[in-house]
Symmetry: C2
Subunit: 320 residues, 2 copies
């Protein structure tokens, strides 16, 4: 049973001090390793780890080819400013190979998880000879694992490593007593810039969750371009979440007087408090038409743009 | 070279008198046959033919299973009020058999055309032993055939009948000098009710053009239900055209707390003068949300509803 620390109870400076001491104690004179995604949890745990261990924490950013435009460099630059060196590991080929021919959403998710843990990160961990793995698990992840909504949050089990005892690996989860709001408080106290907290939520399988059908490099590039446009145009809306989805269906279009059987991008923009219920943002038609104009002009092959008008439930926030 | 009669030049009463005389002259003591779709052109030519020939014109309505809800009965009832007997021919099985396994839009169109002319109507014509076929061809059809936008407007060529001389069939096209506005004028003068002219445009391949992917009876039924809702809710908008499209893509939804991989309906509503250019109607979000609510509630399996926000070009009015 994990003892929750609510954001209200949380005294950030004291919490940070305690966790630094615990991490130093746990790692001793050894080394630790962690994977940074750029999200709030992994960014906070990275800062905490580096405060505690300095260069003895090796932080890797795995470039899976499914990120938003310029994401690996953006994250590396952001952490460089904070004095943290992030090693970018280019694993694009491995991820795309694993995704080849897969159209089922669950199978896509599984292929990405397996490639991440069993292949790419697994290899990095083994090669690093680190005995400690730092992870940004929060209390909500534990709850969701218990409830069966999420898979194992324990990276060792993901790695297929049977027992800690057998290999001597040790997993360190300094944020496990906190929820999102608590993590944000700690992250801010650790000096993480506003940009880390202001980014809208992004799904685990990244842009692979934003294409219906096969996630080929070319289709991912298409939805990546659309995502950049959607995030720029909708940045000022204050909406809970906004996204672009590439459909697998093709629709008739016309370009230069000729029929073109082209692609369709669906835009979703949500109003929500906690993601459990959500309604589409009532965007002005000027904005909706600007989205359509720019997407059909700048994203190759796109002839049609739609806007989601259904609520959650029965819709969900993401489509895949 | 066909001599155009503009709507402005057209004197309806005189035109009708002349065409009645011409039809009587052509058919003599024989019989004629025509296929009524319920559209303006075929409705007008049906009225004209019945004025000229009375019961010697046999009018059939071919139920292909791809029509809007209640369409065959609606058309038969409407013409019964005008004293015209319409024979409904149930050919649903033949059309669905022809559409089986076909997902390409052009092939779908072709399958419907071939089934209509070569099989169903061809058989009816032969059995009727009529020597005259009445057709609602208008000048725009001829132009579009010449320009290569449409196929042959000549039903005999569609039927694969080589020469008129060989079989003695004769095609009669009394509206061929008119354009749409002229036909409307004649139709009104012939006593066709407002309902015929007020219905929004509907594509040749009917609801088969409103499903992306295979047009199975079950998928057609799904888009038929959505079409009824869209036409009812958007009836008062004064828009140029509105339609529902069933996507082939499936998206994640949630119902009763459980994940449901469901269907998506796309709604399009257009402002346009002549269909060459069109922009999406700026519908209030109350209306958009009402559409989504009713479609997700009443159309089985639909968890997501989108609204088209792209203009034509590069979009087109229909998706298939």
């Amino acid at each position: 049973m994990i003892k929750e620390i609510t954001a209200k109870q949380l005294h950030s400076a004291r919490f940070i001090e305690e966790k630094i001491a615990e991490l130093r104690d746990a790692v001793g004179s050894g080394t630790a390793i962690n994977a940074l995604s750029g999200g709030v949890d992994s960014s906070t745990v990275t800062m905490l780890g580096h405060r505690a261990l300095g260069d003895r924490l090796k932080t890797v950013f795995i470039e899976n080819g499914l990120m938003r435009d310029g994401e690996p460099k953006r994250v590396a630059r952001l952490f460089a400013k904070l004095g943290v060196r992030v090693e970018i590991v280019d694993a694009r080929k491995e991820f795309f190979r694993a995704l080849e021919g897969i159209t089922d959403p669950e199978e896509k998710r599984e292929a990405i998880t397996q490639t991440f843990y069993k292949k790419v990160f697994g290899r990095i961990v083994k090669r690093s000879r680190s005995r400690h793995l730092l992870q940004g698990t929060i209390l909500t992840d534990v709850d969701e694992t218990v409830a069966g909504i999420k898979r194992q949050h324990n990276v060792f089990e993901q790695l297929g490593i049977d027992t800690q005892a057998a290999f001597g690996y040790r997993i360190l989860e300094p944020l496990i007593q906190l929820r999102k709001d608590g993590v944000r408080k700690v992250g801010r106290a650790l000096g993480l810039p506003a940009e880390v907290f202001e980014r809208i939520p992004f799904p685990g399988p990244a842009l692979a969750a934003r294409v219906i059908g096969e996630a080929t490099p070319e289709r991912i590039e298409c939805v990546r371009k659309a995502t950049t446009i959607v995030e720029r145009i909708l940045a000022g809306t204050g909406a809970f979440q906004y996204l672009a989805i590439l459909h697998d269906d093709h629709v008739t279009g016309i370009r230069g007087g000729k029929r073109e059987f082209g692609r369709q991008i669906e835009v979703r923009c949500w109003e929500s408090l906690d993601a459990r219920k959500a309604t589409p943002t009532r965007l002005p038609f000027d904005v909706l038409e600007a989205l359509a104009r720019e997407i059909t002009r700048k994203v190759p092959g796109v002839v049609s743009v739609t806007y989601n008008v259904a609520s959650k439930p029965p819709s969900t926030i993401e489509a895949v």
